[in-house]
Assembly symmetry: C2
Homo-oligomer: 320 residues x 2
Amino acid sequence: MKCKRCRRATAAVDLPSHHAAFCPECFFVFFHRQVGEGIRRFRLLSPGDRVLVCVSGGKDSLVLWDVLMEMGYETEGLYIDLGIGGYSDRSRGKVDAFARTRGKTPIVVDLAKEGTPIPEAARCVRMQECSICGTVKRYFFNRVAAEGGFNVVATGHNLDDESARLLGNLIHWQRDHLARQHPFLPEAGEGLVRKVKPLWRVTEMETAAYGFLKGIDYVTEECPMSEDATSLVYKEALSLIEDKMPGSRIVFYQGFLDAANPLRQEASGEASGNGPPEAGGTTTPCASCGAPTYAEVCAFCRIRERIRKRREQPPGRKSG
Amino acid sequence: MKCKRCRRATAAVDLPSHHAAFCPECFFVFFHRQVGEGIRRFRLLSPGDRVLVCVSGGKDSLVLWDVLMEMGYETEGLYIDLGIGGYSDRSRGKVDAFARTRGKTPIVVDLAKEGTPIPEAARCVRMQECSICGTVKRYFFNRVAAEGGFNVVATGHNLDDESARLLGNLIHWQRDHLARQHPFLPEAGEGLVRKVKPLWRVTEMETAAYGFLKGIDYVTEECPMSEDATSLVYKEALSLIEDKMPGSRIVFYQGFLDAANPLRQEASGEASGNGPPEAGGTTTPCASCGAPTYAEVCAFCRIRERIRKRREQPPGRKSG
């Protein structure tokens, strides 16, 4: 099959949802346009931004970093070592290797040194692993951004991630989550940086194809702590629909983001709802670390404190 | 495994979403309670109602008729012969046989005699088969109800049907469909009868188990004209989620029906949204048949007219 764009080269990537198939070079053009359109649609980034790209070593975040650099944005990569044994070591290796080829050195946060390695946190705190991990990572996104003078944090969530999250939020009608789900989350006062998801219009398959054709080497294993993640079930259900009706995913997620969607209009607590959610509430400095929080002590410090107390308990008294 | 209710008999039906397993007798009690709760929740039926039960010969509608009779409601069954060859013949046979055991004679409408057999209609009208079929059936629900003095029409849609329809409406964000999707649709002026779905809280599996254990003989084949129906894809996607997370279906659909759901608040064009949708707009009599319609000529008459014109065309001029 010939490429639908240049009509000369052999097509390498088949995209039923776009009624198209592209050769590698034309696929890169297509992919850049999709990401560019995703950025423009909600003004995720501007030319003067200093962008902190959160890289895990997986395909999505490395592809994101690659694309943003190619688009000319000023970026640095942040790698958070979660302390999950061999998985974290292998992930860091991929991030280092990728950064080196682009003449970059990633900023690294080591959770073991910060007193909150995820496996130990999961044993000490009564929260789901993925939920703890999200809290800890958000804390460092904001802290590293503030320390390094970055005004925006970018993560590699793709269309499959976001549509699966949307489906889960709809199945359980989590209206507060629905009101806040968006590729653009504005900065909220001092220390809570703007967060954007520039890959929201591209699918997991498209990101994987881009990474493969660009020769980006990434970790393919899933995080061993998220193996039973419910998000995989929602992804599978949407894949089943997408296979039978190509294009369903983008129709679903883009339709949700429509300013007229009443589920999104609750974002700012009033019925305006034009575009991204507004920042809500007022933060105060955490009594322990000074980071902005809506509570007295921030969630990160509470997790770290639980781990510290547990470490001080004599062996055999591991309950509580 | 023992029955979770009587703790004596052997369980015959396993219900993970209810953390229960029942023997046949206790399952009948459970099933009646679920249907009863579904009726009570939105006041679908009252003791004085004359209920026209639409029966297709499939499990859901025959089970519905059985349960409503056992609950003491005054019911008659309406069978619409769609004119789909052997499938329609076999379906009618099941309806007749069931009705006979209950001392009833179904009311029968034969679409071939009415000039609108579905296969021919599908060839003449540029609409999806299922969509034409729905329009024609709704027309006769209202007409037979008016002629026979029934004040409510009941259909056998179960939780799987309704949750699949909800998912499809959400994927495409069909806000007008979402605003009107409800187990209770009020009567709308002269001739548009109240429509209810008393089985909205029970799953397809539960209905099938009830039918089987009650010895109700029904057609198991799907309608041959709906084989590729997209609703089956949404059902399959939700089954995948339900298998991994039992109870997801009822949480999803019941959460949607919550009066506070902003998607439902659009039903009456204002932000009240307490309970079922309000009847909207004003109907006028169809210029052709006199049935209530929001257009000049009702959708049924337009379909019948297209078929009549096509029949009058000389052979060989079959286009248009």
